[in-house]
């Protein structure tokens, strides 16, 4: 590192660009000031507001519930699809993989708009039923679950499944006890990915959500258009909280990942 001070300085500047806004907001979330640049006095009122306002609480719980429900459905569908397609004929497999690729490369706004037209305009399903919203989020997430399960299926040793059948296991039991455990890491990372995609989504929610329901993204976007300063500063507190949660999760995952790697290399 001593050899390349310029490289380290460059990396630090990039990290600064990425983190400065969020860190400054985090500092100001403890300030009694609604404008960045003017320092006020220390306060916790933004955090009090964040955790006591029913509007903010409903919006946060709604976002998390939506993410959990759609990620769960997406994980089941995507995993079944990946396993089924893997053992299907080549044509079926490539048909499913191609369709699977569409929401992945497509712009979210196009996906959102097309699902809104089909479900709401053509089929007349009311947005208030939450069906378009959940269907939209599952459409957004399931392809990524599929994509994280497929490589695990390819890495699998096919003879173990055959051996289970030879030893008298039914195909269903062999699938449950041999195949699923071997692809479990792919299913779990697919589920985690689905949750992050759902939490981060703005477009699908905007085009398919009931008018009374808000996710964090749609709420924040609408709040920035308005000028309610107490909501604005409460959202700074939310940013700080989410930042800390993400850092903690990433550090834990990283430490566990390193440990698993070490164990593997010891063996």
């Amino acid at each position: 590192m001593k050899k390349y001070p310029i490289r380290v300085i460059f990396l630090l500047i990039v990290a600064l660009f990425m983190y400065a806004p969020i860190l400054i907001i985090a500092v100001y979330s403890f300030q009694d000031s609604a404008n960045i640049g003017t320092l006020g006095s220390f306060t916790l009122k933004n955090y009090v507001k964040l955790f006591t306002s029913p509007e903010l609480r409903d919006m946060i719980i709604g976002t998390i519930l939506l993410a959990l429900i759609s990620a769960a459905i997406a994980t089941i569908l995507g995993t079944l699809g990946a396993v089924g397609a893997f053992y299907s004929k080549k044509r079926t497999n490539s048909f499913i993989s191609t369709l699977n690729q569409v929401p992945v490369v497509n712009a979210d706004v196009v996906t959102a708009f097309s699902i809104c037209i089909l479900l709401v305009v053509v089929f007349g399903i009311g947005k208030d039923t939450y069906i378009p919203l959940v269907a939209g989020h599952v459409t957004l997430c399931a392809p990524f679950v599929y994509l994280s399960v497929v490589p695990k299926l390819k890495q699998m040793d096919p003879s173990i499944y055959e051996a289970a059948l030879d030893l008298g296991a039914t195909p269903a039991a062999a699938l449950r006890r041999i195949v699923i455990p071997q692809i479990a890491s792919g299913i779990i990372s697919g589920f985690a990915l689905a949750i992050t995609l759902s939490l981060d989504d703005y477009f699908i929610a905007t085009y398919t959500k009931p008018a009374t329901f808000d996710t964090i993204s749609t709420y924040v976007v609408n709040a920035t258009k308005g000028s309610y300063t107490d909501i604005k500063t409460a959202l700074w507190a939310l940013s700080a909280v989410i930042f800390v949660i993400v850092v903690v999760i990433v550090v834990i995952m990283n430490v566990r990942g390193n440990r698993a790697e070490k164990e593997r290399s010891v063996r």
């Binding site: 097309s114 964090i216 924040v220």
Partner: protein
């Protein structure tokens, strides 16, 4: 096959997902196509298409989106390539942990990050409306930079070090070795990164909205048609975007990494 006793087959597991893909991926595209080429009375028409290409406003929006996307992609590339390169050359035991610092922002809700950016830009610039194009590029860069760093880092760190040694042994200077070996071999990562930034930068209009930008990119047109319940006009824009995305995907497929980088760091 007797109807009553359907034997369990692994292939059959794909059926729910195949049906799901047909319903929520294929059918919306068919409907999009239908709406794009019909008018309010359900008559077939090319008006939406010719309307788009004969209106200077919409054509201007198309060009402006290309300009924003090109600039944002170029800036992202100029920052991301050195970042990924320096990261992969760091003499550290655990590069992945350092990489995570540069990937982590993608897991923080984008609307909160852009809100933070908006506050900082407001402090620096005063009136955001005076710097619309620059702010659009900064916003997109800030939002999508991690998605460019990740695939480039992945390709560079997988490169066979012996190739570089061979180049040096055969008399290449450091920079020659970089430009003739490392750079060409890292192109797949660059192409994936460009795909991850360019297309969203053309469509993710909410980033501009949040930065008080009154300029339109392609996504904004869908948004305004959606707000006006003009499904036919919106479908045509979506279809044009779909065509652009399709062309880019086909062009990029030749060289890009097959793995998907939208949150792929979870693995």
């Amino acid at each position: 096959m007797p109807m009553l006793k359907i034997p369990f087959t692994r292939k059959a597991l794909a059926i729910p997902y195949a049906v799901f893909l047909l319903l929520f991926v294929a059918a919306p595209l068919v409907v999009l196509f239908y709406y794009a080429f019909t008018n309010g009375k359900g008559q077939f028409t090319f008006d939406n298409l010719t309307g788009f290409f004969s209106d200077p406003n919409t054509l201007g929006t198309l060009l402006y989106s290309f300009a924003v996307a090109l600039a944002a992609t170029a800036v992202c590339l100029l920052i991301a390539y050195p970042t990924a390169y320096f990261l992969s050359k760091l003499h550290l035991g655990n590069k992945t942990s350092v990489l995570l610092i540069f990937i982590l922002p993608m897991w923080i809700n984008f609307s909160l990050r852009i809100t933070a950016l908006k506050e900082i830009l407001t402090m620096i610039e005063g009136n955001l409306a005076d710097f619309q194009f620059i702010n659009a590029v900064i916003g997109m860069t800030y939002d999508f930079l991690p998605f460019m760093i990740l695939p480039i880092f992945n390709t560079i760190s997988k490169l066979d070090g012996s190739l570089l040694e061979a180049a040096r042994d055969l008399g290449a200077t450091r920079s020659q070795a970089f430009f003739r070996v490392t750079l060409p071999l890292s192109m797949p990562g660059v192409i994936s990164g460009v795909m991850m930034v360019f297309l969203p930068a053309m469509t993710n209009y909410v980033v501009l909205d949040m930065l008080y930008n009154s300029t339109y990119i392609m996504g904004s047109l869908i948004g305004s048609y959606f707000a006006a319940y003009n499904w036919h006009g919106g479908s045509m824009i979506a279809l044009i975007l779909l065509a652009i995305i399709g062309i880019f995907t086909l062009l990029g497929q030749n060289g890009s990494e097959q793995e998907d980088s939208r949150g792929g760091a979870l693995l």
